[in-house]
Symmetry: none
Subunit: 236 residues, 2 copies
């Protein structure tokens, strides 16, 4: 079963959604037959490489509200993140453009290390104050989970994986995806947002039964109601 999750490294709901999806997957009996791929989605493709101020200041500017108000909103999602065992440090967060991060996630995918790299970058941004648009910070982060640092640097010094990021974003558009996280199972079932784990589990189960329909053995006599009860009028 093929699960694609569109997500951005700087999206607070995406990290929470990742934990909730992982929780659903842990409960799913066929989890060993599920392949998860992280797809690129930039919340702000026009973001400058590194925003000069803090995240609170940036949000205050973008949301036309005060830094105090933005900090209060951040506090709410910080509490929800804490319920998933995540430590959000918006006071440290250093926002910026995420295109380079997405390119490295494609490299990590080819090396079989994408989930590890995704987790590392999310933790870096939300917990450790990693500047998300800084090439060397990104290289060091993915190197920690096993992606070769020199190869990562070479990727960021070229235009490698640029097409792949754009292709992900084009597919998101084709699916009508406007916000993240967004989970797509077998290109057929979608879950929008960081839904509770039980919703992700329900989606996995729905997709599984759709891909593995029952094979009926013997004739299906339900039409003539000869030996089956249907609805509240059982023909006996």
């Amino acid at each position: 079963m093929n699960v694609e999750i569109w997500s951005d490294v700087v999206c607070p709901w995406c990290y929470i959604g990742k934990r909730r999806f992982e929780s659903a997957l842990a409960q799913f009996p066929h989890r060993d037959q599920v392949q998860v791929v992280w797809r690129s989605f930039e919340l702000d493709p026009d973001a400058e490489p590194q925003y000069p101020g803090t995240l609170d200041e940036m949000l205050a500017q973008k949301m036309r509200t005060t830094p105090e108000r933005a900090a209060a909103l951040n506090a709410r999602v910080t509490n929800l993140a804490a319920e998933e065992g995540l430590t959000y440090r918006f006071d440290l967060a250093r926002p910026g453009n995420t295109f380079a991060a997405h390119r490295l996630l494609h490299l990590a995918n080819e090396r079989g290390l994408q989930n590890e790299a995704k987790e590392r970058l999310l933790k870096g941004y939300f917990t450790e104050g990693m500047p998300v648009g800084d090439a060397e910070a990104l290289v060091q982060a993915v190197a920690e989970v096993g992606v070769d640092a020199d190869e990562a640097r070479t990727v960021l010094n070229s235009d490698a994986y640029t097409d792949e990021v754009i292709a992900d974003e084009r597919r998101a558009m084709a699916f009508g995806i406007r916000g993240v996280p967004f989970v797509v199972i077998d290109e057929k079932y979608g879950v929008s947002g960081a839904q509770p784990a039980e919703v992700f589990l329900q989606a996995l189960e729905t997709a599984w039964t759709a891909a593995h329909p029952l094979t009926l053995v013997g004739s299906d006599d339900s039409d003539d109601e000869a030996n089956a009860c249907e609805g509240d009028s059982c023909a006996i």
Copy 2:
């Protein structure tokens, strides 16, 4: 998925468009579920069977310009064709009526050889100086890709596939198609002209997702932005 491409054998943008569409198809993950049919479109139904002069002279006459000016226009499209790996030799080109060519493309379609025949006729006209209105030249060309020469000759000596060519052109009119190439996917999505490969790919993806819409599992909370990030202002 059903792709129909209206096109003429003497249309320089059609051959370029064919390459660009092929490039898009090669990148499309569901390409094995795509069926392509070439539809007939005559740019000049009143063309005499074989124009006595060169293409440059014919264009100069039709476009009310000088042969030199026509040659300059041809040079531009020749360069664009070269970018797609095609060799255009307008200096050799022998224009004429394409009705017979379209009838043979319908025969080739019934023999499962339409794409091969289309490619062979385009190459013949644009690269090799094949007289596009010459019945025997056409028969030889399609025979090279496996269409039986005797059968092709018999077709051109009868009125076989005349109705099919006219039917294609009537459907083009019904769709409002005034120029070629024109790609129609599932009788629903249209791409006019030799657009870049990424536009064809986007059309394929749009048609695919339209035919296979996501089933949303769980509530779609994206509207109230409760647990998803959208755009650059994540509601947290």
